[in-house]
Symmetry: C2
Subunit: 442 residues, 2 copies
Amino acid sequence: MVNETNEVDAPRVLRVALLGCGTVGAQVARTMLTQREDLAAKSGCELDLVGVAVHDAGRPRPGIPDELLTDDPEALVADGGADIVIELIGGIDPPRRLVLSAIDRGASVVTANKALLAKHGEEIYAAAEREGVDIYYEAAVAGAIPIVRPLRESLVGDQILTIMGIVNGTTNYILDKMTTEHQDFATALATAQRLGFAEADPTADIEGFDAASKAAILASLAYHSTVRIDDVYREGITGVTSEDIEAAESMGCVIRLLAIARLDEAGRIEVRVHPATVAREHPLAMVQGANNAIFVEAANAGRLMFMGPGAGGSPTASAVTGDLVTVARNRLRGVENPAHSVYQGLPVAPMSETRTRYHLRFQVVDQPGVLAAAAGLLAGNRVSIHSVHQHAPRADDRPTGTAVLSMVTHLAREADVMACIAELERTGYVHGQVRFMRAEGL
Amino acid sequence: MVNETNEVDAPRVLRVALLGCGTVGAQVARTMLTQREDLAAKSGCELDLVGVAVHDAGRPRPGIPDELLTDDPEALVADGGADIVIELIGGIDPPRRLVLSAIDRGASVVTANKALLAKHGEEIYAAAEREGVDIYYEAAVAGAIPIVRPLRESLVGDQILTIMGIVNGTTNYILDKMTTEHQDFATALATAQRLGFAEADPTADIEGFDAASKAAILASLAYHSTVRIDDVYREGITGVTSEDIEAAESMGCVIRLLAIARLDEAGRIEVRVHPATVAREHPLAMVQGANNAIFVEAANAGRLMFMGPGAGGSPTASAVTGDLVTVARNRLRGVENPAHSVYQGLPVAPMSETRTRYHLRFQVVDQPGVLAAAAGLLAGNRVSIHSVHQHAPRADDRPTGTAVLSMVTHLAREADVMACIAELERTGYVHGQVRFMRAEGL
């Protein structure tokens, strides 16, 4: 074997246990069974699938021999003698227990479980380091798009300034439908569910939990610090209205759910997930349907962008299989990848101190002095206005004698803008709610 | 140090020699000198810059101590005791000799030298494997865009179907100017030279040699086979006319210089560099100015795209520094990355057997039967027509009684299309040359 002439004592077979056999797991198992020789040539050794833990071991799985199936993942991990455990069950428990058990037994782990890593990453990385095993998770963020490895290795000699990504395909699909086909949120969600782009319970996606897990993982990697999901400011897309989409369009923008990790001026990590307006010309505005894209700005590398399918059985399986080969190569050579590094130990900035641009939109009494009053109110809160547009409200919801004020701010502090909104809503000249949307990528 | 608790015997200092101190080299040296602690934390050890080989050691380099400078790279490699040698001289010799000498002395090598690897990769990879050292070259293709590592690791468990990239910033800049500002080739080249996007001798870029080196490297990586620059079919952009650009525009396309590596139906590698039309909606059409982008289609991962600055001092230095940290981590652990793998050993398909789509454009005598005759000629050569458009020639070069025929073929064999063109030019009804452009990304 051409790769391995130097390691005469290297093991010729590595035992692999697979936990979970949904769309991704089944694809990984089939790849391992049908492409044995190819994976052996790439890894430098045979990869022997010793067991597949499933929910119902009685149900046959096409292409996977029945004798590999077990409904006892604990036993597979404890007694299977696996060198590598692939965890694709999802959720926090039992995966946390199983992954820690695998590590304790000296197995390296490949997982796609973003929720687990965003919540218990610290514990898991520490265990892997203690036991000298690998933990790889390229599939946890943006499916097959290589982003974990580029951040861990390719860009490790650089300083990451900003990561801004569309990391949840479901919400991008819904926002794209709302934009291009003028569907309202409920209709777009129902379409996504019918076509399999959204789950029956879509909460994790539409409320931004999934994106927040990924944001935590990306921020940890980029800033060599511990960032947990609870550190991530999170807003989903359930509050995005057709009017918000239209207002964004009229400014040459689209609305995307963004996961953002940034280094602020004080050396803290901003990490947040929320809908935001993005200019049509920005590469992130061009990401259609359920695709994902991650934009990275680094001090030396400049602006990089990674695009592709962010989910789905095959793409996720591709990322898992890539990790499997890498982990196998490492084990053959008796090494593990440098553990998750947290040497920078940067703090996370509170959302109230985040600085970005804002688009504010509200109805006012159409009389002299109102614009001046509103502008003065913002100035009093240290919010400077970049542009302002006043127009009549839409015909179907026009109270007599009102106008719509639409403002874009310069960079402003979140707390200051929230104070402006509260004050505006208390004035006599503003009707109803002040709508706002953060404006990114400018 | 949090990364290294398991390796108590690991060396605390690695010696690094830098060969070449142009824009990229100077940036790498400055990063090593000013960010010592950061790189040490990331690598797990001190990286000690022991020498910088330059052309003229008498000329001071801002930020680099004079005592590090030497004009004798051979001596630096032979006597410097370097653990890692960074080669940024460029060209084939002396770099080939220096890199082999470094490897023979047990040093790992980081290089950005695409020409060297595309010509002598086999010899260099074999030497590195024999000596058990690393050779890393992320910066050799597309600057700071991580593509080597994703192909070597992230996608290694997948099957690459197609790689199609804009990997030369100079030619993309020129073609973009010709498209958006209607400059002719000579003017666009002069603009690029004035602004530093093209060199005084632009041959390597505009004749496609640079892109061909990168195509060879990408094809080798994607298909685990030996592909040399001489295996790459190569056409530059010097023959692209304003009329070609206009004709492409009228079909909703732009012209890009593409580097393509594909697995053909017979299991051979197609590897070629030439101008091609790309539909405006294709992500590659959106790559502006001197940027690079690489589109990868894999069996499981689907369609991925990587974009960013493809050249320039800082982006290239970012990629080199990322490799430096990775190589240092490997050395600390006493391992090297699996050597360049050629286990698939696939042959390269001759250009004549490539199958793609073609756009043909030629002037014909405007009389009944001509379209039927031309269509019959193509059919006789097994070339099937997808669409045809006949229109009057441009006012300024209209011979009396002629029309322009513009045809797009279905997938056709290169040799068949070339035979059609030769036959068409010999008929009585075709005036002058048949212009053709390959059409990609459909």
